[in-house]
Symmetry: none
Subunit: 225 residues, 2 copies
């Protein structure tokens, strides 16, 4: 059971290099090459590979979009090709976008040949694999995102009184001062006071920013309405 691989990179030399590395492995076969995203999508459709080695920076259609087309098609069709993304630098934007696009792996181009081959085998089995520096970044984002969700008290939010948080929640539901007043059985003036306090305490300008802050801080979250 050989692993069918397609190489996608706009530099022919690089493709040749990878091909030589991979052809040396008995269980891996390079069945196709592509120089840009559009070709890649066509090749994948035509050749039904197991793994696509994808450069992220390419002309015509970039690697992210190509990854989306290829990996995304797995939802309807059964056997989608797994995409292993390669890049020279570990630029944030590309990493995040590629992973969201459904890539199964992400390696830097300076990866040792052994690691590349090992990565292809892992990915062909349906697992996933990231370069350590990227894993680290992912985990950082992961760790950074949740503290704010577990205890929705990112410092500044802790300065608000109970009532102010209550008002902020209602602001974040798009309610006007009058509506909030009716909801809380207080006068509109009182609501304005609370809103004012929230704004000054959080260093915000208007209720729109307050609503945004409520979502960003995790105080309210999508779907909770």
């Amino acid at each position: 059971m050989t692993i069918r691989v397609i190489l996608v990179d706009d530099q022919p030399l690089l493709r040749t290099g990878f091909r030589m590395i991979l052809e040396a492995e008995p269980d891996i076969a390079v069945v196709g090459e592509a120089a840009d995203g559009e070709q890649a999508v066509e090749q994948v459709r035509a050749l039904q590979p197991d793994v696509v080695l994808m450069d992220i920076r390419m002309p015509r259609m970039d690697g992210v979009e190509a990854t989306r087309r290829i990996a995304g098609s797995g939802r309807d069709g059964e056997n989608a090709a797994r995409v292993l993304v390669l890049t020279t630098f570990d630029l944030d934007e590309y990493v995040v976008e590629a992973l969201r696009a459904g890539a199964s792996g992400f390696l830097l181009k300076d990866v040792p040949a052994d690691d590349l081959v090992a990565a292809i085998r892992v990915i062909a089995e349906g697992e996933a694999l990231l370069a350590p520096s990227i894993t680290r970044r992912l985990l950082d984002m992961y760790a950074a995102r949740l503290p704010s969700a577990e205890d929705p008290t990112p410092d500044t939010l802790a300065m608000l009184t109970e009532r102010e948080v209550e008002v902020l929640r209602l602001v974040a539901r798009g309610m006007s001062n009058a509506e909030i007043a009716a909801e809380l059985y207080v006068s509109e003036t009182t609501v304005k006071t609370h809103v004012g306090h929230v704004l000054t305490k959080l260093g915000l300008r208007d209720r729109v920013q307050a609503a945004v802050y409520a979502y960003e801080s995790g105080l309210v979250r999508p779907g909770a309405i």
Copy 2:
């Protein structure tokens, strides 16, 4: 420059096994052992290791909490020990919790000795590393989060023109009409027109509701700012 490691597991036999594997490496030294979370935290404080090999299931204080204490202390103190979590099963809850707690790595206990040693070296360098099956799960969660953002078209949103969506995004970042105008190089009047169209098309009253809608529809999501 040897890597100082502490082993944390409630099974003495397992600790001995790991110790034998690691002591065979010239650049790794096992400087301590602990049988539960509380001991682990003490040992880390006392011995200042580089890497903590942590079992996730333990009496007294579980691995997640211990990880939180150890990795979390890195925010104030400078050199926090990196935590490499080990587990028998790749149970979702533990994985997610441990990663959120700040673990730098996650491996299954059936990992080959070579891989374990390699993982410790990677983590000692400040990078991160996950078992492929866990990487896969992480990416799936990652990718699963986006589909709703890829087609942010809960019917009504589809009625907006490209420009209107663009304006809506900026409104959802708390920007005023004047700021949006500056950002898009158009007049404030134009922005007001677009905002007005967005409101009427979506059946909303003001820009606050528009911002809320942007979050609720998945057009923008927390953390994406």
